[in-house]
């Protein structure tokens, strides 16, 4: 990683502190010349960036930029290269991503960039809300990027992405369902009046543990401390860093957040995000489904 890492003490205890930056560190970098560093904002709301963003940052939209418009899949190498190049990002660029909702969409963008093997991509701890809570500079000015030449890279899904068949083969091993308790138990099938958004069956994948994603975040959107995260996932849920773990939610966004926590903050070596998640599993024919709350 070419760009220096944030040496802040509060990040030092995480397994991979080079994957996070603090608001203070980012502000310091942006105050001077910072060749080789690009900041991206990734939000749930496609217009939020336009209401004001960190100066010099570019918008990346999880849906219009990172998802294929036709197939339920991510963009291919050529489309990804275009998205990166237009934002002035080359293969060696250090990318810092931040966003709303405790960085859940930022983590999703980071995970997709990791599918393409982009080496140095980091999250801004606390995301948009932390930056704004500290009254740091925001602007409506959209920067013009000097177009970069991002290579066309073929996505390598296998290490960190699970498909439905992978999950079937994984049954009996560790799995984390990061949705709300109501979605986990099967009480909540889908949002009212929205059958097309929902699933035909409610519940969870047998054997999955219920750890709602937000348990990994503090009130202010920053990640909990290493000790608190170890308590949550390792002591309470008995997950071990050397295990194969699959995480999922409804469409794979919230579980990207948990994927980041397990992989980069706790140092788990083999975590895959099942982005088909409940909107695939809950509609698939003859896959096993379990209902009810988590067993004690």
């Amino acid at each position: 990683m070419a760009y220096p890492t944030d040496p802040s003490a509060e990040l030092a205890t995480y397994a991979h502190p080079e994957r996070l930056v603090t608001t203070g560190w980012l502000a310091d970098q942006l105050a001077g010349d910072h060749p080789g560093l690009v900041v991206l904002e990734s939000d749930e709301d496609v217009l939020l960036y336009d209401t004001g963003h960190i100066p010099g940052s570019f918008k990346i939209d999880w849906h219009t930029d990172l998802n294929d418009p036709v197939t339920r899949d991510f963009v291919d190498g050529a489309a990804f290269a275009k998205v990166m190049s237009e934002r002035g990002i080359g293969r060696d660029t250090t990318v810092v991503i931040y966003g709303d909702k405790s960085n859940w969409w930022a983590a999703y963008a980071l995970w997709v960039m990791t599918l393409f093997g982009h080496e140095d991509v980091r999250l801004l701890d606390g995301g948009r809300s932390a930056w704004m809570a500290e009254d740091r500079e925001m602007t409506r000015e959209v920067p013009t990027a000097q177009e970069a030449d991002y290579p066309v890279i073929e996505r390598d899904d296998a290490p960190i992405r699970a498909y439905k068949d992978d999950v079937l083969a994984h049954l009996g091993k560790s799995m984390v369902d990061v949705r709300s308790p109501g979605e986990f138990s099967g009480e909540l099938l889908h949002m009212p009046d929205y059958p097309q958004e929902g699933s035909l069956r409610g519940g969870h994948i047998p054997g999955a543990r219920s750890v709602p994603w937000s348990k990994a975040a503090r009130e202010d959107g920053r990640f909990k401390s290493r000790a608190d995260l170890e308590q949550l996932y390792q002591s309470e849920q008995h997950l071990a860093p050397e295990e194969d773990v699959v995480v999922y939610c409804r469409i794979g966004e919230r579980s990207s957040h948990t994927w980041f926590v397990l992989t980069h903050l706790l140092g788990f070596g083999n975590v895959r995000n099942y982005d088909g998640s409940w909107t695939e599993w809950g509609n698939a024919v003859r896959v096993p489904v379990e209902q009810g709350g988590p067993s004690a």
């Binding site: 496609v46 217009l47 939020l48 219009t64 009046d193």
Partner: protein
Amino acid sequence: MTDDATLPPPLAELIEEFGSVGPKDRLQLLLELSEDLPDLPARYADHPEQLEQVHECQTPLFLAVEVTDGTVHLFFNAPKEAPTTRGFAGILHEGLNGQPAQAVLDVPDDTPFRFGLAEAVSPLRMRGMVAMLSRIKRQTRAGLAG
């Protein structure tokens, strides 16, 4: 496609306006409409329980419909952190507020797809606006009956 002559004129004008620009400028228009969405009057701001939540929006959106002398009045509440949702509400407010109840009821259910926004904000996000319109029509119907 419905003949625009049957739509309330302000709504038809908005469709024309959105259609006359490219996707980027459509987002800009949507942002402006989100900023122009009026605040709730005190009688709703102080009694949020009188508003109906539109669950299909990504972010909480609440609305109320009043029908007085056959005319529809719309009230929306959505957080500033949800500009897209506010923008959808802004379109419906600008296009339908003050219109005759029958004209609102006659708005086709697929009208939200006529602003060319699906490609700008993704089809997935359009469901919030479809749901808002259907609830507005349902409350209008109830307002007429009551």
